[in-house]
Subunit: 448 residues, 2 copies
């Protein structure tokens, strides 16, 4: 989209053109990069600069732009149609949105939230050497931070449909920000899972040279045709394009804002190391194998579940607010082994400490029938309800410490269990039963 | 303390004695360990068993106990008084409680929350070879999850008093669960800091063979006599007793529930590697050096600051509740680069997605004069307010993305800034100014 008004005047005055490599003087700083076309959905007053990092920034009130290097050609994203080859396994691909599907069309200047799945595949033509795509679906085209349980439900049903219709496995392309929530949700919602489900995405957009989505897609396809019948994220294992890790959907967490190897297995080993040529090294013995059963989707989910954080000085009346809003489940992300402020400390604690105790608020929630689960904000390691007296106070109030379960996974599991017609005690009991590999009974110190 | 009533009858009936190595049949499980005396503050109905892990558990309704091994001697904790030696530097020690100060007095059977600082020193008589203790203070004896800003204020004042009275440095013994909050609080509250302040603790209690407090104390003493004028945690760097890391108070986080090397430097290198013999290897170039200025305590703190987590399906009306409760600051722990649900997604988003948008709630909070800061639940890496349109929406609503600052540090910094008489815009501006090393301007991918 062309620039107009004030931004057009600045560009014309400084005699630069879209595509030029320029230096922009902005708020006392010098920024260098390529001058991009105006973004359709962006601020009319902003000049778009593609920094050398590959990121685009919008700069308002720019007065001075100087051409300092040669132009680049601003072209169009390629598309591709993979041909079906005999002898290759047929998998399905379901697109949901996210960075792996973003692109900037430099002709029109518009930033599209998402490529079509066909355009995503075009980034990785090598896929055609290894698999046939029996079906390509664009289920949603949304940023993953905007997902909620309704998307997990639709996605679970779409996966079941593909697997039971004959797909050997499924690849889901997904935004990375909430990928581990979706991975956990599918791990619980897909019952009797007999085939692999790979969730892949990208930390860098396809228009950057450091785009990581191709290796992830390729390794995702290898996982989808493997004999590992698990829901797993398949993302870069290192910051190079060496290989990917398939990590169990209930044991994975995004642990870096930008690194390509941001996804880490927490409290257990990754399921497998996957290379672009199709080699798969299994790393974990807790693996279900491919079989010929029928997959079911159990998608009922109770949305009235919340995560709150307990920390020094935290306000326990947030629990009262959740009671008042008729919440059914609360996950307390506690300190270390699963601590909350208890007000039961010794000399020098002071009156405020007693006032900030979470215990009476948890007791009240439990009395109202709310299931209160406890996880650890330390992320790594196991919670414990016994080691210290303060932990026992929380347990005696009726809370359940969720072993080595991730906060995100406990949130999903609690919503999913409460979606069933179990009574409260049954839900509490099932929180500590291993349903989708969410508890590692043999966690040792090596998983750090 | 001796057992009474029902528990005494069970012990007598099974012919076991306190100190015996026993097998207990409890709720369908067999547990083995040493039978401990009754705990004064514990449940009268519970039998205390010291498991082989070193942890004590209280078991109710035990019917069957069987002696299966020889007794241990149940003795008394030693105490020690270090003699002052000429030529050694004089530091101060301030006790605040925590696991490093727990002990079970097996004579009386009572579990004491905390040893006196003199008893803590007795675990590490080697201290006397390296330092003189000019002053030993027991400021509080509390579990660190029960701390709040009033404790940070008292502690900052106590440290200032010691340093300005001639101590070469200070060691603080502290519980580990909220150690990184206290470390951040002291980093801001101690202004013109000209000497080292080491915060040490233990992940394992002194009655366990894997007690880690001795090495931490010793390395803490070396840090306190070093030329590094920073607030730092000094804790195990590995799971062996090899050496410790001194980690900047604003850049440290407890990253494991039980490991001895749970404390990790986030988004920068540790300040130094410290060995038990006193060798110090500096690892970080952002270090203030010891000097001869006067330290000041700036301890005003606004308690009406909260941390809330944004995640798929999260309830943005928590913000309204905080507005109603007259909060002055909110730290949103967002997804990845600092995302919240925005409801602005593309195809297939659905009406619930729009309803769950955080943007109007953040706008309302900002309009009410609340400072809204944004950090990342990915923990590692930097936030960004520009890369995606959804991030810009949050920024346009008035929120400030806190670079690579930890959530815990942002919470402390916001409370501390709001405790000053700055106006709202000044607080927002200062959130992005580096006051205590909380922002690493040169973060690179190596800090993962």
């Amino acid at each position: 989209m062309p620039y107009t008004g004030k931004t057009k005047r600045v560009i014309d005055k400084n005699k630069v053109k879209v595509g030029d490599f320029v230096k922009v003087h902005w708020k006392g700083e010098d920024l260098t990069g390529y001058l991009m076309p105006r973004i359709e959905t962006g601020d009319e007053q902003a000049i778009i600069l593609k920094l050398e990092s590959g990121y685009n920034v919008g700069l308002k009130d720019v007065e001075k732009i100087e051409k300092i290097g040669p132009r680049i050609e601003i072209g169009k994203i390629p598309t591709i149609k993979l041909e079906k080859k005999e002898g290759l396994k047929a998998i399905s691909l379901i697109g949901t949105g996210g960075t792996i599907g973003t692109h900037i069309d430099y002709k029109s200047g518009a930033v599209y939230m998402c490529r079509t799945p066909e355009e995503i595949i075009a980034t990785t033509p090598e896929l055609g050497k290894f698999v046939n795509l029996r079906s390509i679906t664009s289920l949603f085209t949304i940023a993953s931070e905007d997902m909620n349980y309704t998307h997990w439900q639709k996605l679970a049903k779409a996966v079941v449909k593909e697997l039971n219709a004959g797909a050997e496995g499924v690849i889901i392309t997904h935004g990375t920000d909430s990928m581990h929530f979706t991975a956990a949700a599918l791990s619980f919602m897909l019952r009797d899972l007999c085939k692999p489900v790979a969730i892949v995405g990208a930390q860098r957009s396809p228009d950057r040279s450091s785009f990581d989505g191709s290796l992830n897609l390729l390794c995702g396809a290898h996982f989808a045709t493997s004999d590992i019948a698990e829901v797993a994220t398949v993302m870069h294992a290192t910051s190079n394009d060496d290989y990917c890790y398939a990590i169990r959907g209930t044991k994975v967490r995004k642990m870096h804002t930008t690194r390509r190897d941001a996804f880490k297995a927490i409290n257990e080993k990754p399921l497998a190391r996957i290379f672009s040529d199709g080699r798969i090294e299994k790393l974990n013995s807790r693996l279900n194998s491919r079989s010929e059963t029928i997959v079911r989707a159990e998608t009922d989910f109770e949305p009235k579940v919340a995560i709150i954080k307990a920390y020094p000085g935290s306000d326990p009346t947030l629990i009262d607010y959740l009671i008042q809003k008729h919440y059914k489940g609360i996950v307390i992300e506690g300190m270390a082994l699963g601590h909350v402020p208890t007000g039961k400390s010794g000399a020098g604690a002071g009156p405020l400490t007693r006032k900030l105790s979470w215990i009476p608020h948890v007791e009240r929630a439990v009395k109202k029938g709310i299931v209160v689960a406890v996880t650890s904000q330390s992320i790594y390691g196991r919670t414990n309800a016994y080691v210290y007296r303060n932990l026992r106070l929380l347990r005696d109030a009726g809370a359940v410490h969720c072993e080595d379960m991730l906060t995100e996974t406990a949130y999903i599991k609690l919503g999913w269990l409460l979606g069933h017609n179990y009574d409260r005690e049954e839900v509490k009991k099932k929180m500590l039963e291993n349903i989708a590999g969410e508890i590692n009974p043999r966690i040792t110190e090596e998983f750090q």
